[in-house]
């Protein structure tokens, strides 16, 4: 902050504010109490004239901090958009007049509210600046793609097409992965009836022809460190030689492994060579190369049974509980291998739910039927392998009878198991200095929180968000293909393109020091006062994105380009040495401190509400739009994430005479809604310790309450505030008033 702070406070009278509260008094409060250099009122602040008034002060009066005291920070953002000045918003419309009755008795408390929000807006202004991006920001356009299957190859070519150099790392001696081991693929174009070539050959030649793509075969990653824009990876070949390359972003397309069919003896696997998996049948088809597919011992095949969900969608020990998505389509594809070659071969697909979705799926199903593939809704109990003939025993669910059919070949539709490396919840990271590469790991990250991407469920590196499938807990590293979620080739190709989009985006943002979603574009980053640090490691442990490492002396290393600016580290820090240019312990702490606390005889309690800006705060806004009333004694401060709540705020509030504190964050736990994944969860844990504070102050525990609030809790959020007001009425005012 070079030049001295000059705060302008601008109080709007529009939308009824002027009629409901004394804006002149607010202007006075802004200058007298909060020390704003300039305070102006305007009857319509967001129109061209009002905006010009502010811009003039910025241009001519040297105003460099602007406190807009008008409507919610979510409203009129286009109008109140001033460059190179710090802006805060005092919410008088949604925060005061829309939630308070327009009555004489209410007038005084309503004015109190407006005055306080004015003070708070100005106070916040004092403690925030315009962030400038970190010196740490680096720009490296090279993308590393891990895995040379259809997903990885697609990602590589797509990135190259966008103009980005690529290093493609493949564990085996050849590109192609599972796709290369297939004879044909499920059609991706209408009429979705006839099989298509896998497209692997084209992709490989495209890669070989590209001057942008460097392929590393027989190679794995033995160490990956750094951050978006400055990743560094050791690429080690089978022979043990290692090269180190630098990258801007990483795409993990490590694919899947076939479920181990040996766990399905009841289905005859291992007992007869003529019980095979889908993968094995594709290998046989490749071998037949368009000719009749023969059994492993060279006999003709006149009848085939496809057993769907083999070892899948089952809670049985050793089975996969999920559906692998592609298997129904794949079985129809494989049945066509036979039908296209010789229509006389009987091919029967035994399924419980036939899952062939979308436009292509139903057409392909019909196409299979037209070619004479038959379908039986049934559940297979056993495949009897006596002699050369196989007998599939199943319950025909339509004819409702136990029956069986004798076939020459049984194909088991077994599932996909994600190649996601180590489960970091089970395998912890090595201690600093003792770090070692782990052959089981895909990425071998040097990250403090573990060597691989966190897994969402069932081993898949998927995002938990419906709206944000590429949300990642390792900024700049994006999973795609069957390692992210079970899928077929067409989806994998689409998925790879999406992940590539995110990767090149990460590169560009890292270069400019900009945060990734959900605080996209935020230039702030954690600023850390090393001398004050006690090396308690809470920040490194609690960061939901594994952004923070530890250096040799065990001091935190923030890796700004990995940071999402949620402030969880700031909230975790007991000695408050972590802050952001535009968000800090002070920028919130000073707001709650400047609130006027009437002495207890005035019968005006004060409730501090810290509301998550992502869900709770919008919910309160919408409550206001619905004119839902709530207590005039509350003072609400929006925060980035409940995870950023530092205990000092609670302690300060209680010490300075607040009668109650309400915290509102997002849903935590397995089905979390927190946009910073674990912020809300961590805050809840943190707040469970607040009781000690309360006891030390000999205050009732009810004075502090923590809630999970959804953005749709339009009635509930105000209710929570009112409940705290009632609680205070019952237990009485805080003794800590001055």
């Amino acid at each position: 902050m070079a030049d001295e702070i000059k705060i302008g406070a601008y109080i709007c009278q529009g939308c009824g504010i002027g009629d409901r509260v004394d804006t002149a008094q607010m202007a006075q409060v802004a200058q007298r109490d909060a020390k704003a250099s300039i305070a102006r009122e305007h009857e319509f602040l967001c129109n061209a004239e009002g905006v010009k008034m502010i811009q003039d002060d910025i241009d001519n009066e040297g105003v460099n901090r602007v406190a807009i005291v008008a409507c919610s920070r979510r409203a009129k953002t286009e109008a109140f958009n001033f460059q190179n000045v710090a802006i805060t918003r005092g919410n008088i419309r949604e925060g005061v007049i829309w939630v308070r009755p327009d009555t004489d008795e209410a007038r005084e408390t309503t004015q109190d509210m407006a005055d306080d929000y004015t003070r708070m807006a100005v106070a916040e202004c004092k403690y925030i600046g315009v962030p400038d991006n970190s010196e740490e920001a680096q720009y490296n356009r090279t993308i590393m793609v891990v895995g040379g299957g259809i997903s990885g190859m697609t990602a590589a070519t797509e990135a190259a097409k966008a103009g980005y150099p690529v290093h493609l790392i493949e564990k085996t001696g050849a590109l192609g992965g599972a796709a290369a081991k297939s004879w044909k693929r499920i059609p991706q174009k209408s009429p979705y009836r006839d099989l298509e070539d896998t497209g692997v050959a084209e992709l490989i030649s495209e890669i070989e022809a590209s001057d942008k793509i460097t392929v590393h075969l027989n190679s794995t990653l033995t160490k990956t460190s750094g951050a978006p824009g400055r990743f560094s990876a050791d690429i080690t070949t089978e022979s043990g030689s290692t090269t180190t390359e630098n990258f801007g972003a990483i795409i993990q397309a490590s694919g899947y492994s076939e479920y181990d069919a040996n766990q399905l003896p009841e289905l005859g696997y291992g007992k007869s060579p003529n019980v095979v998996t889908q993968a094995e049948l594709d290998a046989m088809a490749l071998e037949a190369n368009g000719g009749p597919i023969k059994t492993k011992d060279g006999k003709d095949i006149n009848s085939v049974a496809f057993v769907q969900c083999a070892g899948q969608r089952s809670e049985k020990e050793g089975h996969l509980s999920y559906c692998s998505g592609h298997c129904c389509m794949s079985s129809v594809k494989q049945a066509m291998y036979f039908k296209d070659q010789n229509p006389a071969v009987d091919t029967n697909v035994i399924y419980t739910d036939l899952r062939m979705p979308g436009a292509g799926g139903e057409d392909f199903y019909r196409g299979g039927q037209e070619k004479g593939v038959t379908f039986t809704k049934g559940s297979v109990s056993e495949v009897v392998t006596s002699g050369s003939e196989l007998e599939v025993k199943f319950k025909d669910l339509i004819l409702n009878e136990d029956t069986s059919e004798k076939v020459d070949l049984v194909v088991l539709a077994t599932g996909q198991v994600a190649n996601s490396g180590l489960n970091i919840d089970e395998v912890g990271q090595d201690e600093p200095g003792e770090w070692q590469s782990n052959p089981e790991s895909i990425l071998n990250l040097s990250y403090r929180q573990g060597k691989d991407m966190p897994q969402l469920t069932k081993g898949f590196n998927d995002s938990h968000f419906i709206c944000f499938p590429y949300e990642t807990r390792r900024t700049g590293i994006y999973a795609c293909g069957p390692v992210r979620r079970p899928m077929d080739m067409q989806q994998a190709i689409e998925d790879a393109a999406g992940a590539t989009m995110k990767a090149i985006q990460a590169v560009e943002n890292a270069g400019k020091g900009r945060a990734a979603h959900p605080r996209a574009g935020d230039l702030s980053y954690p600023i850390f006062r090393r001398e004050g640090c006690t090396q308690c490691k809470r920040c490194t442990v609690e960061c939901p994105f594994g952004a923070i490492d530890e250096d040799e002396q065990r001091f935190p290393q923030f890796n700004e380009a990995r940071c999402r600016r949620c402030g969880t580290c700031m909230g975790a820090c007991p000695v408050r040495v972590i802050s952001f240019e535009n968000y800090s312990v002070d920028s919130v702490g000073q707001q709650l401190k400047i609130v006027d606390i009437p002495d207890e005889f005035e019968e005006k309690p004060r409730i501090l509400a810290l509301a998550c800006e992502n869900d709770a705060y919008p919910a309160l806004d919408m409550a206001a739009m619905n004119k839902v009333e709530y207590s005039a004694f509350v003072r609400i401060i929006p925060i980035r994430c409940l995870g950023s709540t530092n205990l000092i705020w609670i302690t300060d509030a209680l010490n300075s005479g607040y009668d109650g504190v309400v915290l509102m964050g997002c849903q935590k736990g397995e089905n979390y809604q927190c946009h910073f994944v674990r912020g809300s969860e961590i805050a809840h844990v943190r707040m469970s310790k607040v009781d000690d504070t309360l006891q030390s102050l000999s205050l009732e525990p009810e004075r502090v309450s923590v809630h999970e609030v959804a953005i749709t809790d339009i009635e509930r959020a105000p209710q929570i505030i009112n409940e705290m007001a009632e609680t205070i009425e019952n237990i009485g005012m805080s003794p800590f008033k001055f």
Binding site: E78, G163, S190, A359, E362, I466, M501, A520
Partner: protein, 428 residues
């Protein structure tokens, strides 16, 4: 309207639903200039009309808030509502597109204070609630509507209501002289994300949607179940406003059927499974749901949601395409007739309410698409060389759930970027 700056390095995104918003945001946050056009007064599309998402049962509003904030924070996006593409010409890297914008009759001065809405009397069917409720002649489409700016219904222009509204506005935000506007712009690539519409249930004659009051559609059911919907979240049946606690869900209502939509709409199975949880959420043990299906398509890892619902003894699964529905005149209950094909059991089941899981009909202008684009027989845009730099996103590409639509939108953003990077010669 301020001039629209666009060059052949600009990307046009058609449709402001979750797919269009995502495509626009991903490309803008990468650094490209975007023009995002939406034909409705606010962005958000179909998802803004959903109560919850499957399988998480979280609220679409939540993601909408984030995406709206991303748009507010991003100077690269020029958003135009009430605007449609009326012509496209040119080729990859250089398209000329005509945009036609309908008058909103409310300008940027609007503060969404609501004074205008309070004074007008005329009310119209609320299309945000699929006509289940009413809205004023000047209105904010819904609480989360973005831009947060009122709309004046053209039907009241020239009526006293319009003048009343104009007088009520202290900020000169209501401008009754607004005219239709057309702008022709140049763009390098186009992302087509016009989404889908629910299949017209009137066409599914055996189910009597047009004759039996207590037969409704799955999209209507979302609004009924939403605490912020027309019934405050009470599941009230149209015939008598009674609470419906025994509800039937009919799958493939218009899908997988050559008489209607030939394709599988993918989302309906999961949507109905989700909706059974609404019934249980509201009525506890009194809530009963029956799902009539052909195949339950709870695909890949979300199959566990199906397993959860199956474990609920108040939810029944009947493997049957319902033959027809008749109304029990006395009770107003729809009576479902058909055969449970798992072992041949004939049924004639009365339910208090029937929800048709209606299929997904792409909103791609079939046949009369502005330029040559490969549209398949189902009306979806297929990826094809001949499409030039026109890329389908979300349900313009296939019947997709939200998660896959967003994925598809992200991919389409990349494809558009590849084109404009080539134009800009920045592909290195």
């Amino acid at each position: 309207m301020a001039d629209i700056i666009a060059t052949n390095e600009t990307i046009l995104v058609v449709g402001g639903g979750i797919s269009g918003m995502t495509a626009a945001l991903e490309a803008a946050e990468y650094g490209k200039q975007i023009i995002l056009v939406e034909k409705n007064p606010s962005v958000g599309g179909r998802v803004s009309q959903l109560y919850k998402y499957f399988p998480k049962l979280c609220h679409p509003t939540c993601g909408q808030e984030i995406n709206q904030r991303r748009i507010k924070a991003n100077p690269n996006i020029r958003m135009m509502t009430m605007t449609e593409v009326t012509s496209v010409s040119g080729e990859e890297g250089n398209y000329s597109v005509t945009l036609t914008s309908q008058p909103r009759y409310v300008n940027e001065n609007c503060t969404a204070c609501g004074d205008c809405g309070d004074v007008v009397e005329a009310e119209f069917d609320d299309d945000y609630n699929y006509g289940l409720g009413k809205r004023k002649g000047v209105y904010l489409p819904h609480k989360m509507a973005y831009p947060q700016r009122y709309v004046l219904d053209p039907q009241i222009v020239g009526t006293p209501d319009a003048t009343k509204a104009a007088e009520a506005c202290k900020y000169g935000a209501i401008d009754l002289d607004m005219q239709e506007e057309t702008n022709t712009i140049t763009v390098g690539a186009i992302i087509w994300a016009t989404g889908w519409k629910p299949y017209d249930a009137n066409k599914i004659q055996p189910y009597g949607y047009d004759r039996i009051q207590n037969v409704i559609t799955s999209v209507e059911f979302e609004r009924l179940s939403d605490p912020h919907g027309p019934t405050g979240g009470k599941i009230l049946r149209p015939s008598d406003g009674k609470e419906a606690k025994d509800i039937a869900f009919i799958q493939c209502a218009g899908s997988r059927d050559q008489n209607y939509l030939k394709h599988c709409s993918r989302i309906c199975c999961m949507a109905s499974l989700k909706q059974t949880t609404y019934v249980r959420e509201r009525y506890g043990d009194e809530g009963k749901a029956s799902i009539y299906y052909i195949d339950i398509r709870a695909i890949d890892r979300i199959d566990d949601f199906y397993q959860k619902v199956q474990a609920d003894e108040n939810v029944h699964f009947i493997k049957s395409k319902v033959a027809n529905i008749v109304e029990d005149k006395a009770s107003g209950n729809p009576v479902l007739r058909g055969v449970d094909t798992e072992g041949y059991n004939r049924y004639e089941n009365p339910h208090e309410l029937v929800v048709l899981a209606v299929g997904m009909e792409p909103s791609v202008p079939a046949g009369d698409f502005p330029v040559t684009v490969k549209v398949n027989e189902h009306g979806f845009i297929e990826q094809d060389e001949s499409n030039g730099a026109i890329f389908a996103a979300g349900c313009s590409a296939d019947a997709l759930d939200v998660n896959r639509a967003v994925q598809s939108a992200t991919a389409s953003a990349l494809r558009a970027i590849q084109v404009v990077n080539r134009v800009a010669g920045t592909e290195g």
